[in-house]
């Protein structure tokens, strides 16, 4: 809390005291190193865990003695984050440098070999690249569809009209449905024998219509289902921006006889730009992870395999744990680059404006 006054004299490294966190780190690292090198993995795992707990305890006692109550208050959250999130993340990063399969007992250090394999191996890399390209296609089309539809819906619902409240609930329903329910619904919707889509088109054209029989059709089907589910999310965000625009700005603009188009770009858009960016960011990250709808609608057939579904198969079905970890980290890297690119562009725009 009041750090500058409390930490007048940090304890010297050599003093043995429960709050000497520097010593705790030193001891922890040394003991862990010895344990990892000397003891079997099942034992050293627990020793390293105990050392991590020791260091954490030293930090906590140190914070208590020096009255960093703020730090103490967030400590449980950080501990949970570490155990549930950061530790598994680092663990899998570690695994990606080993040859390891979860259903076999052996483990061997291979350095970058997994990364080289998933990106260049003749046997496996082709499937990875195809899945990545498909993922890119889905990211572009689903996000574009959701942004446009969501934005238009928001413009519609920003106005007052009869039954608006009920229609709004109706429009929001897809977002609240479970993906599995929507997936099953769309499976039947697109089904050539039982589905209404084929029924209507067959009746109109007299030709047998099977949407999911081509890649174009299958991608369209998945994009439509995804847009149906997630456009309301974009709408909600944009709507929040739209209702926050002060009315008097429009009144002033009306007095100045500013055209509707110009009103939109100079008054409305600056208010919703941040939220649009946020929606774009969320939806891009989500679209990058698209697997559920693909599994439900095509099982990856008709060349609609996405990298996420591919990863599920490699890591969870084929038990190629370390190869899966390598793909995960490549995906993570791509998402981080992509989001930073967005944020950079967004910041440059807002600074320029």
């Amino acid at each position: 809390m009041n750090a500058s006054t409390a930490t007048a004299s940090p304890p010297p490294l050599t003093r043995i005291a429960p709050d000497n966190w520097k010593l705790a780190i030193l001891v922890g690292v040394l003991v862990s190193l010895v344990a990892v090198l000397a003891a079997p993995a099942a034992v050293s795992f627990w020793i390293v865990g105990a050392m991590a707990a020791l260091i954490a305890a030293a930090f906590a006692i140190n914070a208590y003695r020096r009255k960093y109550y703020g730090g103490l208050l967030v400590a449980p959250a950080i501990a949970v984050l570490f155990v549930m999130n950061i530790f598994p993340l680092l663990w899998s990063l570690g695994l990606s440098f080993f040859a390891y399969q979860s259903n076999q007992q052996s483990i061997r250090f291979v350095g970058m070999a997994n990364y080289v394999k998933v990106l260049t191996s003749e046997l496996t890399a082709t499937a990875n690249w195809l899945a990545l390209i498909n993922t890119a296609i889905f990211v572009i089309f689903t996000v574009a569809a959701q942004m446009v539809v969501g934005f238009l819906l928001a413009m519609l619902f920003a106005k007052q009209f009869p039954l608006r409240k009920y229609l709004l609930i109706l429009v929001l329903t897809p977002m609240m449905l479970s993906v599995v329910a929507s997936g099953v619904f769309f499976t039947y919707y697109y089904d050539p024998t039982f589905g209404i889509l084929s029924y209507v088109i067959n009746a109109l054209t007299g030709q047998q219509f099977v949407l999911m029989s081509t890649k174009l059709g299958a991608v369209t089907g998945i994009v439509f289902a995804d847009a149906w589910m997630w456009s309301p999310f974009v709408m909600l965000l944009v709507l929040a921006g739209l209702v926050s625009v002060p009315k008097y700005l429009y009144e002033a603009a009306a007095i100045d006889r500013v055209s509707k188009w110009r009103q939109f770009w100079t008054i409305t858009f600056p208010y919703i730009r941040g939220l649009l960016m946020l929606a774009l960011l969320f939806r891009t990250i989500e679209a990058f992870k698209l697997a559920d709808l693909v599994i439900l609608l095509t099982k990856g057939g008709n060349d609609t395999m996405t990298i996420s579904y591919h990863l599920i198969r490699i890591a969870n079905e084929q038990n190629k744990t370390s190869e899966g970890a390598a793909i995960s980290y490549i995906m993570l890297f791509m998402v981080i680059v992509l989001t930073n690119l967005y944020l950079y562009l967004a910041n440059r725009r807002s600074q320029g404006a």
């Binding site: 695994l95 499976t187 024998t193 099977v210 999911m212 057939g301 969870n316 899966g324």
Partner: protein
Amino acid sequence: MTVMTKMKGFAAAAGLAATLLTGAASYAVADEVTLTMAVPDWPPTRIMKKFFDEQYKPKSGNTVKLDVDFIPWPDFYTRVNASLTSGEQKYNFIVSDSQWLGAFVEGGYYRKINDLLDADPEFKKTLMNIHPNPLNAYSTYPYKSENYYGFPQFPDVLVNFARKDIICHEEEQKNFQAKYGKKLPCTGEELDAMTWDDFKNVGEFFRRKKGEMLAGAPAEDDFYGIAFQAGKGYDFSSMQINGFIWQMGGNIWDETQAPTGQAEGVVNSPEAVAALEKYLSMLEYMPPVAKTGTMDIFKSDELFREGKVAMNIDWIGLGEASLDPKSSKVSDKLVFGQMPGTMGPDGKMVRWSNIGGQPFVLTTWTTDAQIKEAVEFVKWWLSDDIQHQFAAGGGQSAVKSVYEDPKYVTYRPWNRAWAPQLDWQKDVWHVPQFFELLTQQQDQFDLAITGKQDAKTTLDNIAKFQQEVLKSGGLIQ
């Protein structure tokens, strides 16, 4: 990513906890033994649990409980795989698809039972009373070796589900005879005698648009002659295609020939290519969903029960629903036959088919006290009396004395096609790489089914992949 990493992170902790728990359970009370079992949630396993609760009296005098975890089919593999690889050691018994044997034996999860068989001649006799084809498929790793692992839970084969009201209709019979110069099969025996060419004719013959005459009345909806599995998921095309390949003289990579047997040249042999071409040539006579790569065993069954097709090749395991008027529009119009075959050069029918069904296996961490009770339970399960009851309740039995009993064919209408087909069952690979081989093969078959590549390219790609994977796994020299 997170599921996987968390799983590994907590593997050790969960393992320790499980050891403590099971340890405590087996030592604290000597006369109460709990057997924990992972099973797919469907009638054959529900019946087993019901029989156990109602009828099972352990000879040892102990109180034996069967704690069954019913897991929905679509999640079944994922859940079992996660449980085993995480090291939680939760289950003593696991219902396992036969293809999983290698992967989980090599992982050290499935217990070899040869010592138990040697120690108990009665147990051995029970197991050897099973037809050798299902026994090899469900119990051996490597396939057809003398290493035994499993016991049949629900044995299964592919049969022909057909609509009597359509195929036996006088008008249709007459027209079919006129068009193909052959009688349209109507009875079970006539269905048994069908070749794939006859099957294809049925498909071509019964393709009707809505409003066209079908069996004396205008069709209410588009109607199709035939259906079989052609889906991308799990093994929903391989199980059918393998039968075609074997029947027409081709082969899949044969693990009993390892390490000298090859994939390249075998998997993509001219016979295999011709077989796949034959399989693909029938898709155009099937409901249009076949073109999307989503016509799995459940879809073709649904189309059949909704009355959209005249004949469907599917597992017996899905048959109960078609007999039930609540779930089937055709429940009172059914006739069953063996899966079509291929006429061999000697004029005899060749009927090779891929076996279905599942064994259940013991896990390596099961304690001695549990194993003792488990063996008694398996002996009880495979006893004639219980197997008869199981078959009468909708199950199947691979025990010779049971299915050879004249009563057996009276239990269900498809049972007449059961025993003769057992001699023609083979299994797909049991090797640890099975899932890798299967997913790649299913992906390739899907490309062929949806018309993106021809049979030759498909099998060339599969052969090349299998050759490399199996070579790096040391199974091909």
